[in-house]
Symmetry: D2
Subunit: 113 residues, 4 copies
C-alpha cells in the first residue's frame, strides 16, 4: 500500500465498484484532512472555506480548478462573496475513491501557510 502523503500523490483512473472505499478505509484516511467531513449520504468529502472578498474566492476557485484539470478529477462547488464549499466524489465508483482524498489533500496544500 502506498503510504506517501496524499498531497504528493496523483489521481488515477478509478472506475467500478471495486475502487469505492469502504467505511474502514474512509475512517483511516479522514483524519489526514483537517476540516473535511463526509456528506450526509456518505458519498462525498466536503469542506467550507472562507475568504476576505470575492477576488480571493475567485482566486481559490481558479487554483483548485487548475489542479482539478491536471488531475482530471473535478469537484462540485458552491460559492458566494466570501466563501466556497467544495465537494469531492467519484461518480464512476458511486461514492468515494482514493482520488477524492488526494484532491482534498491537494486543496489543503494550496492553503498551507
Amino acid at each position: 500500500m502506498d503510504t506517501a502523503p496524499l498531497a504528493t500523490r496523483h489521481c488515477q483512473p478509478r472506475k467500478g465498484k471495486e475502487h469505492a472505499l469502504d467505511k474502514d478505509a474512509i475512517a483511516a484516511l479522514l483524519p489526514q484532512l483537517p476540516g473535511w467531513a463526509l456528506s450526509a449520504d456518505g458519498d462525498a468529502l466536503v469542506k467550507d472555506f472562507r475568504f476576505e472578498d470575492f477576488h480571493r474566492t475567485l482566486g481559490f476557485i481558479n487554483a483548485v480548478g487548475f489542479m482539478a484539470n491536471r488531475e482530471d478529477h473535478h469537484p462540485d462547488l458552491e460559492a458566494g462573496y466570501g466563501h466556497c464549499r467544495l465537494r469531492w466524489s467519484t461518480h464512476d465508483v458511486g461514492g468515494l475513491s482514493l482520488n477524492d482524498f488526494i484532491c482534498a489533500a491537494r486543496v489543503e496544500a494550496l492553503l498551507d501557510r
Copy 2:
C-alpha cells in the same frame, strides 16, 4: 423611469425595503431575460448554464466574477465540470432589486453570440 437596455445600466447602492421590486415590476422585467426564472421563494433570479468542459466553466465564472466585482454586486453560484448555476438576489432589500436584473442581463451579454 430609465428605459435603457438592462445590460447597459449599472448597479447602484440599493438598501432598504423600498428598493425591493414588487410582483408587477418583476413580471414586467423577467421577459427581458431569456432562460432566467424566479427561485421557489421568489427572492432570486436563477439560471443554469452548460459548458463543454471545466476550462470553459471556469472561464465563465471568471467573466461573471469580473463584472460582479465592477458592479459591486455578487451572485451565488453552484458549479461542476460542465455547468454553472447563477443566483442573483439583493440581501439588503430582502429580495430582488433592479441590480439583480441588470447583472443577469450583463451575464447574457457576455454570452451574446
Copy 3:
C-alpha cells in the same frame, strides 16, 4: 459597410492580405478606441491598463481571456502586479484586421463605468 459600434460586433475568420487594413482605414477607426495606439511597427493595437493590485489585474486578464476565447481571437499580454499591456494583431493577415479593433472595443466595454 457595417457601421454598428465596434463593441457590438463579432470577429470573423479573416485570413489573407486582403483583410489587412490600410493606413486610411486604421486612421478612421483608431479614434473610436481611446488610449489605444499603434505599435512602433504599425502591426498591432496596444494599450496599458493599471489596476490596484494583482487580484484585479488577474480579474481583468480573465475577463479579456473569456471574451478572446469566445471571439476566437487572442491577444498577447504583458502583466505585473498592477498593470497589464494588451496587444492585438492578426497573424493571418500580417498586420491589423477589423478583428483587432472589435476586440479592443470589447475590452473597453468591459471597463465601461
Copy 4:
C-alpha cells in the same frame, strides 16, 4: 542554513541589498530549477511554458497568481495563445533573493506530473 526543498518554503519579507543573492549562491540554487535561467542582466529568473490552448494558458496564470498572492511575491509575465513566460525578481533587493527561487520552485510543483 535551511535545507528544506525550495517548494516547501515560503517567502519572507526581504528588503535591502543584504538579501540579494551573490553569484555563488545563485549558481548553487539554479540547478534545483530545471529549465529556469538567468535573464541577460542577471537580475531575474525566467522560464517559458507551453500550453495546448488559451484556456490552459489562463489556467496556469491563475494558478501562479494564487500562489503569488499567498506568498505576497509577484512575477512579471508575458503570455499569448499557448505560452507564458514568467520572470521572478525582487525589486526591494535590486536583483534576486531567495524568494524568487522559492516561487520558481512552487511553479514547478504546480506542474509536477
